[in-house]
Amino acid sequence: MESKPLTTRRLSVYNLRSNPFRTASLVFVVLLLAFATFGGSLLSQSLKNGLGSLKERLGADLAVVPLDHEADYEGIILSGQPEKFYFDQSIEQQIEQVEGVSKVSSQFFISTLAAACCSVPVQVIGFDPDTDFVIQPWIAKVYHEEIGDGQIIAGSDIVLNDTGTLKFFDDTYKVAAQLERTSTGMDYSVYANMNTIKMLVAGAREAGMNLSVDVYGTDVDRSVSTVLVKIEKGYDADTVTTNIRRQISGISIVKSQNVFASTANNMDVLLAFINTITLVLWLLAILVLAVMFSAMTNGRKKELALLRSVGAARGKICGIVLTESLLISILGGTLGTVAASLIIFPFSTYTREKLGLPYLLPNVAVTLRLLGMSLLLSFASGPFAATYSAVKGSKAEAYISIREGE
């Protein structure tokens, strides 16, 4: 057998190994700490990302919808909850005339009921490529040609067939492109131009699923679901809202600003909660670690004094205690971040559904930065908590001299 030198690291490893239960407990504390740090920071970063994404994608300043359908519209924007409501197309022209309105574009909503097996209703949003100023900027990020008739653009969370198509009723539609993830209702929606929408409705009626499409007797040619409004520079949303209300009756108006503000408010509460929990867990873990290391060093006073008596310098003793705490931190920190990753990443859709808030995982660079920070923090936690014990332990020869007076 070869003879391995008894280095500081090896002495530390042997000591950790000689008491597996104590070591496991310490590792578990660091694991919790790393889990809280990485999980908490990922969660709050995802929420902030989601909010940023929502702000960017709101696009229009105002959305005019049929009377009392504000909540339904917000549902579509925030979570892609399928809804349908219609009013007469002529409203679009009326709004365009209102003072302070810069641009208008109408959209037409239908929801498909489970067309193929194992799917949920999907919100299909028809838009007018000529006037649209909301959706096309996002489509342009992934698809540079004009969207033709019969083509659709799918949100990021729409699961396509293997052939890159979607089947609605009995007809198959080619998916021209799939949008980037936005954490808004866009992810669960499907976009098409009005001609495609008409094809879809015709297909549904042909398949005898008029009720499923739920367009009722609506005349697709003369109805719209919402009119999106961009306000002219120099006017504020409230003034324009009042102007529109004064001229047109039987409508409700959703202000994007308000949608954003109320979401941001909800999120602030959650963020404060997450940050508090993370901080409390962190402090608790450091405290527990410090107490445990201190108890551990106290219990080993005799061993440390022995090492001193056979020629270990103070630095060496500190080194052994700190190495032990570092090894524990590395193990616990790695396990904790892995555990957090195993929960945050695979279950991100589920988390988002449960939170009911815009939730968008950060990109790889940001994720790696958070990971690095969490690992650094958790790796440092052990040595940080053990510093006092290490210094105290390195003065262990006092133990020998104290005995003289006993």
């Binding site: 030198p5 103070r314 007076g405």
Partner: protein, 233 residues
């Protein structure tokens, strides 16, 4: 390789009153000496040897080894000195529970930078102390006498000039005490000076010189008179 202790004093403050645990002690130890240090508990014996081992800094006085005053050494140098020149056998059971017997003996070898490996040397020391069959065992399975042998083997791994033994036989039976004392005597015969603190009258006979420590003052006595005076005092 003489060890010269001159006017060594260690002062402690106990309850706001200063007292000399070691008071103006001077003596010389030559290679091969087997020195007994006896005295009542609290008389300053351990304080004295701990200063010689550089574990405590004296208040006054000097300890010179080949003209080098070790009192002024910094912790790192002091530790290196202790590691290479002193073999320390502390009182009671003094092993690292997480290491097996062989590794316990090897520890001092690896505390300073050294060439080569320690395994063969450690194993031969275990043979010398008669416990080579326990090399792979862990301290918790060893008896008191066996643990003391481990401590002796460990004290010798770096070929020290001085072995300090603090009550090496305090928790051993008569038979084992005799065996341990034989071992220490053999060490002294090879030229290593042995300084032993003891309360054990059986152990006294093995030493070549005897010092009595009383209230911090050290006196050297000759032969049996020590024993008697100690008994009286």
């Amino acid at each position: 390789m003489a060890l010269e202790v001159r006017s060594l004093t260690k002062e402690y403050i106990r309850g706001r009153v200063a007292f000399q645990a070691v008071n103006n002690v001077s003596f010389v130890v030559q290679p091969g000496d087997f020195v007994n240090i006896i005295g009542r508990s609290g008389s300053g014996k351990s304080t004295l040897v701990n200063m010689i081992a550089c574990l405590l800094t004296p208040t006054k006085g000097s300890i010179e080894i080949d003209g080098l005053n070790i009192v002024s050494l910094k912790d790192k140098e002091a530790s290196a000195y202790r590691n290479s020149k002193i073999g320390y056998i502390s009182q009671g059971q003094s092993t690292l529970a997480s290491l097996n017997v062989l590794d316990n003996v090897r520890v001092p070898f690896h505390l300073s930078k050294r060439e080569g490996t320690s395994k063969e040397a450690a194993f031969s020391l275990l043979e010398q102390t008669g416990i080579s069959h326990l090399a792979a065992a862990f301290p918790k399975h060893l008896s008191g006498g066996e643990l003391k042998r481990v401590a002796i083997a460990r004290a010798l791994i770096n070929h020290p000039d001085y072995v300090i033994a603090d009550e090496p036989t305090s928790d051993l039976d008569v038979q084992t005490t005799a065996e341990i004392m034989e071992l220490l005597k053999n060490i002294a015969e090879t030229g290593t000076a042995v300084m032993m603190i003891t309360h054990d009258m059986e152990a006294l006979g093995y030493g070549s010189r005897t010092f009595v420590m009383d209230a911090g003052i050290l006196t050297e006595c000759a032969g049996n008179r020590v024993y008697i005076s100690h008994k009286r005092g």
